[in-house]
């Protein structure tokens, strides 16, 4: 165990600089009794030094993927390498450089935050002054020094998640894997976690994070992969994926429902092909959106109730996501 305060930002050798942080080849996983495979031939390469997002709807296989990376379950086929080492045969090496933050807080409710950190730190082989300094650093990282000696069962969900995350950092891993760390927490806690993840990344830690919040992936990640039904749909840099899509619709939202006449009035504007109304929303389709915005605003001011928002041209990962995973709406 190294005793430096933070891992070195530069990869330690040229050989390792070339190897991806995580590399999956043909990874499949079928659970006994499961109807469809949870993972189905996933090839994925997570480069070193970035923040990589795994996106996918519920049941896509994100947790399964991460559990295989953490050595908790065995793949049915395919190979998994972390830092160039095979997860099956070189688990010992991997466990020292990998930090895994599970989706559900994995902590002892009747112990205090400090006792939890102390226990898991010792289980990672830390001891003495270094252990103490890591406990302190981790408490500060998630702004919990004031709550350190409270029992975890008294914490709110957000604090439990903060503690859950920071336990995975006790041994200063080089590669950090987080399974939906920001589910069910308030914007403040989420912002804190995002902030800390960016700091850790800047300090050289490679991060793999799963989420189904698109804005989160858009804001936080350099690169993402979208999986669904256990299959990899797409992998790429966030700007590249966004550039592939541009929504041609202009979306108007009103306070209250506009009259049926509005959509018809908007369709009379030259350059507008179609206008659809659904409740308080009206979508206007045009092949020259920039040119029709001004006339649209004139009609709206003449006919409709107060405009709430007008959105145009914002391609979002959400649209990429929905178009790839299918706009199912209903749960599987």
């Amino acid at each position: 165990m190294t005793s430096t305060a933070s891992p070195s930002p530069v990869p330690q050798s040229d050989v390792r600089a070339g190897t991806p942080a995580i590399e999956l080849k043909g990874l499949s996983k079928s659970f006994p009794g499961g109807r469809a495979p949870a993972l189905d031939g996933v090839d994925l390469s997570v480069p070193r030094g970035g923040i990589f997002g795994i996106l996918g709807p519920n049941g896509a296989g994100k947790t399964t993927l991460m559990s295989i990376l953490g050595g908790l379950i065995l793949p049915s086929s395919g190979s998994v390498r972390i830092d160039g080492h095979d997860v099956l045969t070189e688990a010992r090496h991997i466990r020292h450089i990998l930090g895994l933050v599970p989706q559900e807080p994995a902590i002892y409710p009747t112990l205090t935050a400090r006792e939890n950190l102390d226990f898991f730190g010792r289980m990672q082989g830390l001891s003495g002054a270094y252990l103490e300094s890591r406990i302190q650093a981790c408490l500060e990282l998630v702004e919990m020094t004031g709550e350190a000696d409270q029992r975890v069962e008294q914490f709110s969900g957000g604090y439990k998640r903060r503690l859950n995350m920071v336990i995975g950092l006790m041994h200063e891993p080089e590669i950090l894997i987080l399974d939906e760390p920001t589910v069910a927490i308030d914007p403040h806690s989420r912002a804190l976690i995002h902030h800390r993840l960016r700091e850790l990344n800047a300090a050289g830690i490679s991060i793999l994070i799963s989420t189904h919040y698109m804005e989160e992936a858009e804001m936080l990640c350099d690169e993402i992969a979208i999986i669904d039904h256990g299959r990899l749909m797409v992998q790429g840099l966030v700007p590249d994926l966004l550039a592939q899509r541009r929504d041609e619709a202009i979306e108007l939202q009103f306070f209250g429902e506009p009259g049926a006449g509005l959509a018809r009035a908007l369709e009379t504007i030259p350059g507008v092909q179609r206008a659809e109304q659904a409740g308080c929303r009206v979508r206007v389709f045009s092949d020259r959106p920039e040119q029709v915005i001004a006339p649209i605003m004139q009609r709206v001011q003449a006919e409709a109730p107060t405009l709430r928002s007008l959105v145009f041209g914002r391609a979002s990962l959400e649209q990429v996501f929905l178009s790839l995973t299918g706009d199912r709406g209903a749960p599987r």
Partner: protein, 421 residues
């Protein structure tokens, strides 16, 4: 290895912290067995023993019809608590069978020619024949007793027989002395012979007739103290397995699996605190049985004279219980499953093993079946110490059986814990 030991220590500290914070559970762990022993040792006396005022069927097989036979019958007939039955002739085997079948609780066997033998024996004593030259053996009046006869009542019956024999001895002695004096006119009278040099009758020593024969039966407290200690120890498998599964459900166990923590550290971290609790349970039950029970009017428990054997039994029983609990925990899916399965199994093993009902009063076939219950091994070991005064050598088979059971459970638990799907 040193690093793993440090991890084991941290696991033990963690588990102890969790346990110490669950006050209600701790209170339950320690008061349950103590209360059981107090209540049952005091109340079971009346179930297994006899109520004051009850009458006992006693059989006297008087194959001797002269002074000895008549004297014994007269003594028992004078006792209002006894329903006396007489037989002039019955084989010992027949008498045993009557006892086993429950027709009588206490049987006195007066051998044929007892009076004649007593007189000859007495004559030799009076003539001051040296002990090694006497031809006649002391007369053996045998006693057979039902194991469930309350020990104090049995002592009273044996005592009154003893008294009767003393009386007969005195009477025969006086007659013989008078006769000698009459014949010799006191010419050679040199004083009374020392009667203590050789008894006319063998000391009364009751034999307990159990179905399998032989061996003294435990008193109520000798049975109850180890029985409830063992049951309490094994019942700790419920909180132990529930704690383990909770840890799995809370995900902390999976988290440990992503770290380099060997299985024995995880399981050992659980075992050590529960082992300590088991030992405290045993000590408190024994202490209460020795010191508190007599204050409440019960028989005190004698601890035998092999503290090392006691420690060995306590440790191996606890390890067996913990192994069982860990195996259940690793195999069960839910806390409900673990709690339900382990409590039901412990109750069944307890019933089979002579914990809930003493083996002595079980049907012969059930007594044979008791062998499959680890609790029965534990109980036999403790009874070896308390009842038969056994030492380490005597309890070694039971202790080794318990340790082997523990090793087996731990082995399958570790194997399962390491398994990945």
């Amino acid at each position: 290895m040193m690093r793993d030991l440090a991890k084991l220590r941290a696991s033990v500290v963690k588990e102890a912290r969790i346990l110490l914070r669950d006050r209600q559970a701790l209170i339950l762990f320690f008061t349950m067995p103590v209360l059981f022993v107090l209540i049952l040792s005091l109340s079971l006396r009346d179930v297994f023993g006899d109520r004051p005022g009850a009458t006992f069927p006693v059989l006297v097989v008087a194959e001797d019809q002269a002074e000895v036979g008549r004297g014994i019958v007269a003594t028992f007939r004078a006792n209002p608590h006894i329903r006396l039955a007489l037989a002039e002739r019955a084989s010992e085997a027949q008498a045993r069978q009557w006892l086993i079948d429950g027709h009588y609780r206490f049987v006195v066997l007066v051998p044929a020619g007892a009076t004649l033998q007593a007189k000859r024996r007495l004559g030799e004593i009076m003539a001051e024949v040296p002990a090694d030259l006497r031809l006649e053996q002391p007369v053996a009046v045998r006693v057979l007793a039902d194991p469930s006869l309350r020990s104090d009542y049995r002592k009273v019956l044996e005592g009154s027989l003893d008294l009767a024999l003393h009386g007969i001895e005195m009477k025969l002695g006086r007659e013989q002395l008078e006769q000698t004096l009459r014949v010799t006119q006191g010419a050679h009278f040199t004083g009374l012979p020392d009667m203590d040099q050789g008894r006319v009758f063998q000391p009364v020593h009751g034999e307990t007739v159990t179905k399998r024969g032989g061996g003294p039966t435990p008193t109520s407290v000798q049975q109850n103290a180890p029985a409830w200690t063992l049951l309490a120890m094994f019942f700790l498998t419920v909180p132990l397995s529930v704690a383990f599964i909770k840890e799995r459900e809370q995900g902390s166990l999976f988290r440990l699996q992503t770290m380099t923590v060997p299985a024995w550290v995880v399981l050992g971290g659980k075992a050590v605190p529960y082992f300590v609790i088991n030992q405290i349970q045993m000590i408190s039950v024994l202490a209460v049985s020795v010191h508190v029970l007599p204050l409440l009017g019960g028989d005190p428990l004698g601890l035998g004279n092999a503290p090392l054997a006691l420690l060995l039994m306590g440790a191996s029983a606890s390890l067996a219980a913990i192994g069982f609990g860990i195996a259940v925990a690793v195999y069960a899916r839910t806390t409900e499953q673990a709690a339900g399965f382990s409590s039901a199994t412990v109750m069944i093993m307890g019933a089979l093993g002579g914990i809930l009902v003493p083996k002595a009063v079980m049907l012969p076939i059930m007594q044979e079946l008791a062998v499959i219950s680890p609790l029965s091994w534990g109980l036999d070991g403790f009874l070896d110490i308390f009842v038969r005064g056994g030492g380490v050598d005597d309890v070694l088979p039971e202790a080794l059986a318990l340790l082997a059971f523990s090793a087996f459970c731990h082995a399958i638990a570790i194997q399962r814990y390491r398994r990945r799907v």
